[in-house]
Symmetry: C2
Subunit: 382 residues, 2 copies
Amino acid sequence: MDNFSFYNPTRIEFGSDKEKLIGQILAEHNVKNVLLAYGSERIKHDGLFVTISQSLTQHGIRYVEFGGIVSNPLLSKVREGIQAAREHQVDAVLSVGGGSVLDSAKSIAAGTLYEGDVWDLFIGKGQIHAALPVFSIMTLAATGSEMNSGAVITNDVTREKFALHSVHTFPKVSVVNPALMQTVSRDYLVYSAADIIAHSIEGYFTAAVQPKIQSRLVESVIATVLETTELLLKDPGDYNARAEFAWASTLALNGLTYAGTSGFSYPNHMIEHSLSALFNVPHGAGLSVVMPAWMKWYHSQNPAQFARFTRTLFGKETAEEGIAALETWFDKIGTPTRLSQLGITEADMPAILENLKGNTRWFGLAETYTQETLTTILKLAL
Amino acid sequence: MDNFSFYNPTRIEFGSDKEKLIGQILAEHNVKNVLLAYGSERIKHDGLFVTISQSLTQHGIRYVEFGGIVSNPLLSKVREGIQAAREHQVDAVLSVGGGSVLDSAKSIAAGTLYEGDVWDLFIGKGQIHAALPVFSIMTLAATGSEMNSGAVITNDVTREKFALHSVHTFPKVSVVNPALMQTVSRDYLVYSAADIIAHSIEGYFTAAVQPKIQSRLVESVIATVLETTELLLKDPGDYNARAEFAWASTLALNGLTYAGTSGFSYPNHMIEHSLSALFNVPHGAGLSVVMPAWMKWYHSQNPAQFARFTRTLFGKETAEEGIAALETWFDKIGTPTRLSQLGITEADMPAILENLKGNTRWFGLAETYTQETLTTILKLAL
């Protein structure tokens, strides 16, 4: 077990109707005037906006609406948000939505209190010494953003997709009400499932130091996803399954499963980023294609861990059986497992390989993931 | 899954040599003058005290020594500590030791900023509105105290053993260096194992609402304890086993495994508190006696969960087999499973039952745990 620091000061308010507490929560933190960040206008129609605005007003908190944040959120929008936050002199940012809105909210919160251009904070040119307090109400599971300090933003001009992290950008309080996630589409549910599994297995399989207790925690998360996804496909209104799915998602990305591990990498995310950058496929769909192919190529490098994975999660023996079981499960829930299902053919491989040249460098994996290796993996995914 | 709030702002600094950072950590928190609470003079001989004092001095931090805290820590000593903290106008409390020292440190930290008598905070007569910041360096695993806000203290006069909890008594930073725990005696290692298991199973078996994901987390903790305790009995110097044991211990009691559960109680701790209050037996030893007896009495009330427990942790089937396997394991590692091994006989039962009258009220279990029921359980433990 390697040395580690674990610190996660986000308070999670989990459960039904918790969004009704938002006014009280902000009042406890002495918030008087908040930037209310959100994505589409959907929240205006489904009653959530009314609930939030009433709760804020009841506690004497003013708010400035800041909508229109899109998936794969953009730097230009973050700059707009910073301008709005300064103009209206807000003293906090409230995110209502999924990870894209929350990542934007964190970036706005840090950028507002930073004198230079906010992009500095993504490229190591500036440091985050303070941020407006961030609060969130989640409407989607599997973003992880609700209980970590990271934010991923795309620079619309350079097309760079970079992240910031800081002790100041943990949400103070995140509201996770599984009932708000019941309207997520069937497709996005299964993509979320693939995403949680991908986040869970990257470290689990690649870490040079992987304590057994951490493997057990990862397996607890994955077992929960396997079970609850099927329950939710049968009955999207199954509150308890939705709740366990949401909590598994939070635990997968709040730092807990990585404590004491070291020497891990994110090859599946690396490959997937090229797919979504080039073909605009949903992140989770790209991941469910990449994972089985990567596993088929990689498993002989860590046979003991693949044996564990197979035995614990699928009750089988060999690595091949475990990988096949996962692939079959992806097929069963209806998330793609082949590039062809994403409309990608062998003719696209040169373009993917070209895009991956930059990606392997950014992920620090250029030596291991040569063009030959990547070709092998991609062919396994055709 | 029930509604819950999860909040745990303690920073864990885990790993070898982390105690050397203590001066820096306190300086980061603007501490100038700290009450250094500890137990026996052992830390003076094994080099730990020198390491700490050098690190503090290096960062210009003064300290006031406050040693002599004993197991099952006493209210009289807490009052002494409060007097010392006030007299020397310290601005923080640093605990160096196990759970007894840290529980005393938390109580001193809260009591120093409370106008009335500190016992008020244990009996609901007073509220904790503030506390001196608490820091800890752990020399023993399985107290859990390093990452929670609770403190258990025994009133030397009334022989009541009660707890305080407050958002103000979370340690700011806890240093957990498994290497510092290598000198823990064989006895205290196995008592610790019993204690972690006890903390894990109370909610697991008694909760009216027990999400499966939370059961999986609990089983991850227990499986780790079962495995690493045996490794440590063979080789006390096995750093990795010591580290996984320590982290399992932290996770068992930092609130994580209770998120989303409800309607649980602590009957094993309730009964054990009377044993240690009356006979001053080590807490873990008392628990390994109480647990199998309580389980034999209780299991028919939650057969599904006992089946899970037996299957997942011992690969067997019936509740009786699971309980027998746990009892056999306790025997194997050498922690007692019978009151007689603690020197307690049937003649002591009236005194225990009398003491439990107050305890059952304090634990809110007076209706369920009648004198008749308690007699049944105690007889199973003879």
